[in-house]
Subunit: 389 residues, 2 copies
């Protein structure tokens, strides 16, 4: 088992070690919630300020052209594409994951009407959004007879990871279309949805785009012609500025845009992507598996593991089960270890490899050990339920 010194040595040798200084992180906190909201890149403040004061303040409405706002859904899409194994002209950015799910499933059902297979473990919004689009059934019943399959690559509660190429192959073999939700994998591992039919994801977790930063939608080029956009706003029109009375879809991925981009939220995402341009995702994945393996080893049998033990089958988060998970997490946060709690009994810890150090893992595991061994979580103060996120 590694001691703190050995962890410090791993940080020393870490090829991603230099990135930590690119982020603002509060003193005395081990932030293991980057799987929910990523930390703020230092450069973001300046980039957003520039968009506000220089672009909006000086260019005013001219910014739609001069500052590239109008093109953002597509230009940002092209920048994101490599992070999900996709090519240029296949990703459009904007709106929210919920809306992208609605677009993807609607488009898929337009191409292939029938039953939607979902995972009860999908983040609820995915399943809520599609409840009224058609009949659904759980993935545990297999893909036979399905028209459309919607799964999250990484389970938001357990961190369990699907084998994307293999599942995509099985789904296609069953004659269905495959939609991947990569919210909990993009920026944490080498996502590759190129063979899938559609994919959706958010940018505020491992990609550090900021609270409520825009979502994205991947549409496989083989569907660009036939698939329809259920939300055909003017941005997706063949000639938006012709202001034609009837809708006429644009060619290519722009057909799946909706409307005006949230420019300030895009600015923060662009700052973060400037950082991602310098990152090799293979390095991120390598460090992620080291961090999560180390964490599982160090916590040991003090807590029951809810995540797969095999790093190959896991995203960049580790979850444990505890009947008193809520007060345990409160006690940890009180001692500077920030994870989160998901009812009824899940303690989640996310490891964002760009800013999480091996010594952070060591310190977090040490504090977890102390809180559990001394039963510090039994303090009645930790039972008061606060609003949770």
């Amino acid at each position: 088992m590694l001691d703190r010194e050995a962890c410090a040595a791993l940080d020393e040798a870490d090829p991603l070690g230099g990135f930590r200084d690119e982020f603002v992180l509060p003193e005395g906190v081990v932030y293991l919630v980057g799987n929910s909201l990523g930390a703020m890149p230092r450069r973001t403040a300046e980039r957003v300020a520039r968009t506000v004061t220089e672009e909006w303040g000086r260019e005013l409405v001219g910014g739609w052209n001069s500052a590239g706002w109008f093109a953002q859904p597509l230009t940002t899409g092209d920048r994101l594409a490599p992070l999900i194994g996709a090519g240029p002209g296949t990703v459009v950015v904007g709106n929210t994951t919920s809306i992208a799910v609605y677009q993807a499933v609607s488009a898929a059902l337009g191409l292939r009407p029938g039953t939607i297979v979902v995972d009860r473990a999908n983040f609820p919004t995915d399943n809520y959004m599609i409840e009224r689009l058609g009949p659904t059934r759980d993935v545990s019943e297999g893909f036979e007879g399905a028209a459309v399959v919607l799964l999250a690559e990484v389970d938001y509660r357990t961190g369990a990871r699907y084998d994307v190429p293999e599942v995509t192959r099985q789904v296609h073999e069953a004659g269905a279309l495959m939609i991947w939700d990569v919210c909990h994998s993009v920026g944490a591992l080498e996502v590759d949805v190129a063979e899938a039919d559609f994919a959706v994801g958010c940018t505020y977790k491992y990609l550090n785009g900021g609270p409520g930063s825009p979502a994205f939608l991947y549409v496989n080029p083989r569907h660009h012609e036939a698939a329809q956009n259920v939300l055909p706003g003017w941005y997706s029109h063949a000639e938006p500025f012709a202001f034609e009375p009837r809708y006429r879809p644009a060619e290519g991925i722009r057909r799946f845009a909706v409307s005006t981009p949230h420019v300030l939220s895009f600015a923060a995402l662009e700052a973060s992507l400037d950082l991602w341009d310098q990152v090799a995702v293979a390095d991120v994945r390598r460090k992620s598996t080291m961090l999560t393996d180390l964490f599982i080893d160090l916590v040991g049998d003090r807590l029951e593991l809810a995540s797969p033990r095999d790093a190959e089958r896991r995203g960049s988060q580790v979850s444990f089960l505890h009947d008193d998970g809520y007060p345990v997490m409160r006690a940890l946060i009180d001692r500077g270890v920030h994870g989160d709690f998901r009812a009824p009994d899940i303690l989640r810890f996310g490891f964002a490899p760009l800013y999480t150090r091996f010594v952070d893992v060591f310190d977090a595991a040490t504090i977890i050990g102390e809180v559990l061994e001394k039963e510090l979580w039994r303090d009645p103060a930790y039972r008061n339920r606060l609003a949770v996120t």
Copy 2:
């Protein structure tokens, strides 16, 4: 006819005169495009910076509670409500106007299936979004037999204004539901959609929320129980953090939320609403009619008026027709008068009363006169079509 001195005297006496200093406006420019993208309030830069560096940077994921992000769609809705004549708990903010239109029309058709009456003059996105939701027909054929009517209070091209109470009454008498798009009226005049069934609007024009700032959706309380949200994301769930497998709608207006708010875009809107808290909309409307009347008088018969002559029937914009509208607008912008052009022949000038002065109107009209009399727009340089917004 007023001279420049008389205009300066009007500015001196203007009860809204003090607000101009609250905005950043470029030197040497008369900005008459606030009906497209409002100017930047000075306070916005600081407010957005605080959200980035203090809230996100320091609170991290905790900001969803501590900084009020989670509640934004509703708290900002309550702040906007008075600007459209609505009460608390009836407006939800987020997403885009296109998406709000889709939600409103879908919900209305759920309550009252049938034909949708639209105005060919609606901003195209409104009509595009609903093309596939049901049969549509033009308002020129009247309301008889309609199920749902979707109209823009102020026409984006001509500035013509519907009589909202009267039309709402007629639509209800015909047994249909009324949806108002108030994008081009909110912040420019005393909008009152309280009697309507639904209303939608954006916040980046006269409200100065910034490029791509969030849209809003008003739902009359009489429909909160029966109307359905076609985009039932987890924010609209009765207990979002219960992560229940099936959808269960929240009570009240929260039922019409979708998903995660674009927090940075909300921050800019909140800064602008801090300013609007100090504004009496009656003053805004009074000044708006004075500004637009003056502009029409000063331009005189040099250009053919496309807007109603009667200020009562007009929003806060004045449009003229010119067969060579594109080069004319280019020549004006070159001389510091910023309006915009809408194909095929419309010159638009928007008057945002919080920062547009009477002397600006005088100067703009003077330059328009010069450009037309000397035919300065015939310069071949102005014929090159640039991308337009």
